[in-house]
Symmetry: C2
Subunit: 161 residues, 2 copies
DNA sequence: CGAATCTAGTACGATAATGGTACTAACAAT
DNA sequence: ATTGTTAGTACCATTATCGTACTAGATTCG
């Protein structure tokens, strides 16, 4: 009567393991006040700033939640809001200097995770894993407009740590 | 300056897509009051009952949070607590008849998700994906004591929908 | 042009989830 | 019997989630 663990749940385990490592790395580097929810939002901020609704979309939360998180991050000095020149309604949420300080930490830990996973699976299976995950992610979220082909280059999109 | 989406984040997308589908399927079948956090907890309940600390561990939440969720689920009639014959301190959290009613719905949707993903990737790559996810999950959580080998059979463990 | 429509951001508020500290009762070890 | 450990729980403060709804700037189209 025992059943297998679903693929979705396996993804949850992997995701949470990675997330915990990144948040822990940030905490150890002095960014101890960043919560997981905030980290998920920060991960969606492009280097040139991102709108609130886009952040909400990327983190799979309603914009009210994203707003609350951004308010907290702004109060903590991690992000700032600048007007969006292309749309008077919109504002771009950008990392402050303080926020950018955490980026290398997150990126480094992320790279370490990828390296650890690749060491476990081997480069070939790791690549296959990423490719498969990409296809599933795209089918779930068609406007991810993602490359993953090393040949192509997208002027837009892409997430941070 | 754009970076790739991390494998962990891709897992997040896949996981959330699956989770949303299951919660939506439950809602449509009349189980509209089950939240995502509750569903994650329910997914860890074995058919013969599971202890609170084990549920907390599986869902990656502290036991206080698990307690609050169980209280809510108990009040809503989804689970019940029975004494654990093997340990006077412990209690087993079990699905009630009402709770078991949602199981087929969740299991069916889960199967549909797996089928959809397999249709997308093909059976070979899907199997490779699961195998890779399993290895990563095991490395992150060594006491997952998981089979995945069709030959072996574990008397314990295994999650529900 | 101007009215209807849409969209980005925000406010307010109610509920749910998270997680710290700490207590009790039962078990385990010596 | 004393000590240490573990399961469950209570209490509580904070954070996160998300519904309803408003404002102001865009967009569409007659």
């Amino acid at each position: 009567m025992e059943r297998e663990i679903s693929s979705g749940w396996l993804m949850f385990i992997g995701f949470r393991a990675a997330e915990d490592r990144i948040v822990a790395a940030l905490a150890e580097a002095g960014y101890a006040d960043i919560t997981r929810a905030q980290a998920r939002l920060l991960a969606g901020i492009d280097l040139d700033g991102t709108r609130l609704v886009v952040l909400a979309d990327r983190a799979r939360i309603p914009k009210q939640t994203a707003l609350a998180l951004v308010n907290g991050l702004e109060a903590a000095g991690y992000v700032e809001r600048v007007p969006d020149p292309s749309d008077g309604r919109a504002r771009l949420i950008r990392l402050t200097a303080h926020g950018r300080g955490g980026l290398p930490v997150a990126i480094a830990e992320e790279a370490r995770i990828e390296a650890d996973w690749q060491a476990l699976l081997g480069i070939r299976r790791m690549r296959a894993l990423r490719r498969a995950l990409w296809e599933l992610a795209l089918s779930a979220d068609p406007h991810l407009h993602a490359p993953e082909d090393p040949q192509r280059e997208e002027p837009e999109g892409g997430h941070n740590g």
